[in-house]
Amino acid sequence: MDDMISRTAFVPPAAPAVVPRGNLYRLSRRRSTVAFLFTLPLIIVIVGLVIYPGLYAIYLSLLNKRMTHFIGLGNYAFLFGRETFWMVVEQSAIFAITAVVFKALIGVITSHLVNNLPAKGQRKWRGMLLVPWVIPLSLSTLCWWWLFDPTYSAFNWLLGALGGPHIPWLSDPFWARFCTILVNVWYGSPFFLIMYLAALKSVPEQLYEAAAIDGANGWQKFVHITLPMMRNIIAITVLFSLIVTFANYDIVRVLTSGGPYNTTHIFATWAFNIGIASGDIPLGAAVSFFMFPIMAISAVFILRGVRKRGKEI
């Protein structure tokens, strides 16, 4: 009986023979390698269209006007002494900071409004409010230009019909700056809305309940719960938007081309004017690079705050 049991007992199959694998095979099977290969097309695009042109532009900015010899930081030193350059710096700062402040404000207000809508209707409102952001910017700016057109402005027609004055939207420096900032705010606010809406939804409801029990009103809840919980998101979106707004080109180019009399020029449009239109490519490259240290310093301060708050949590 024991022999029968032993003869019919399960005998595990022999282990397969181990085939030795090379290093390359092992490398290709690692997760990090697979991940790298999936991201490789994007890396190539970024290297080819962003990093390489950026490095080439740095090289160009160190050459003389005819691009025949190296002059080091001569172009940058030259720009420091130009009145127009400092005007462009001032205008870029006014444009970027004002636009970002308003975008953030509108983002906070509209995100609260949308968040308080019944869940059923929220989706279509979100979709509608995102429309400005999804239309290609130069196309939408062209529509705005028609609305502000010096001869056939729809806004002035409407104002005229209501007995109001004719406003020189694009020919007066104040109004021209107003228009460029307005278009940028219109275009960029949906981004802030979406980010802040997502942040609002991540705030635990129990905090508001606890605050309500303690007798906090709406404003107190906003100041003591909502804002602190959203602070990091606000910081990151402001930083991102500052960088993108500083580097804006389309809006000013289409609406005003930097006029009237250079009062709406920002870095990108002025760099184009000098570099491509006037043929001084090294100086144009130097102008466009001035954005980099300004943005880098802002990024350091803002991200330091984010990291600090992250550590506290």
């Binding site: 694009l170 005003t256 081309s257 006029g259 009399y261």
Partner: protein, 449 residues
Amino acid sequence: MKTTTLSRRKFLRRTALATTAAVALPYMRTSYSAGRLALGVWDHWVPGANDTLTKICNEWGEKNHVDVHIDFITSVGDKDILTASAEAQAHTGHDIMQHRSWQIQVHRNVLEPVDDVIDKLVKEHGPISTISAYLANYEGKWRGVPAVIGSQIKPCCSRIDLYKQHTGVDVTKIFPYGDTRDPALVESWNWDLYLSTAEKLFKAGYPVGLPMGQTSDAIDWVGALFRSYGAVFIDEKDNIKIDSDETRAAIEYARKLMAVNPPDVFAWDDSGNNKWLISGKGSSIMNPPSAWSVAKRDNIKVAEQCWTHDMPRGPKGRFAPYLPFFYGVWSFGSNKSAAKDLVHHIVDKPQAKRQVEASNGYDLPAFKSYYDFDTWKKVEPPLGTVYNYPPRGDEELSIAGYPARPDVASQIYNQSIQTVMIAKVTQGRQKVDDVIKWASGELEGYLRG
């Protein structure tokens, strides 16, 4: 198994037979055996004008067995300038590229000398305009051939009826259809008369429309104004001469003239003055016949009253703002000799006539001997509307920034320093001395090597 082998003897015999056949048989020319040419050309405003150039190039291509390919590149958003800049940096692209006025000197180091083409054209058709030479002849070598397509001047285009009714001036009498100009009348058409009529028209509700922005229509007429007052910003020897009585006189005049323009002119782009005239509100602009062409389509009542005529005369002469385009042959091209042949063919008189006709008289060739084309005589309404478009009297062609070195003048032009000065004084209410001081500082910067 049977095998075949090729012996040395068989190989030599077959090779000899093949070579003999190749030499002895008549040479069968295949299509496009002379190669391929790619052109990058400005996309014309006037509908149909592109088709004429395509036909001209295809005809030449068929005759010379060259495969010609044309890309029409718009100037909207400066795409033509961007394309040329990219090709110049990358050393690859079209064989022939059309360039706007200043771009020849920008790309002079990568453009093939075309003195042979120019010499041939000058021998056949007479001298080329001074401004074309100023813009395309660099260090004694021509780097571009003046094109017909796109080349333009921006003289006055005035409403006959409004001038007669509100100012008593008949522009068709001063600049008639035909060679019957009265020198005294022509002499009377100066900036003072222009201003006095502009004031009357402003009061009547039909202002002249002169852009004062930072686009080429504004820069061009203001450049002609400064030149007609004798104002020189930088001379040919790099001396800054902006701080002069002539500059102040021109600015003071502009201050008075801008007061009788619509307030929005500071924001007009290159379509602003066209729209102003076509709307029926404008009495005069300074533009090529494109505004009249569009008015013919959209507002025939306005078109019937349009008359193109000379610029006003200043203390130092009468200057017409001129913007020539050029064909350049890239030095890195692979078929340069065919490219030069094609350029010569396109610019030659019979082909030029066809291009001028297709553009309704908009395109202005660089050779005075071409001004006898009948297009300018026959387009209407009214008959003779663009007869005075080619300079027929004492008008001298000019470009803002002249006579500074082209690489400096291009910055005076493209940075729109002249219009910015006038805008700062008029709209910005800044002092003339302060504005001249600011401009002087800018000009110093343009002189950097």
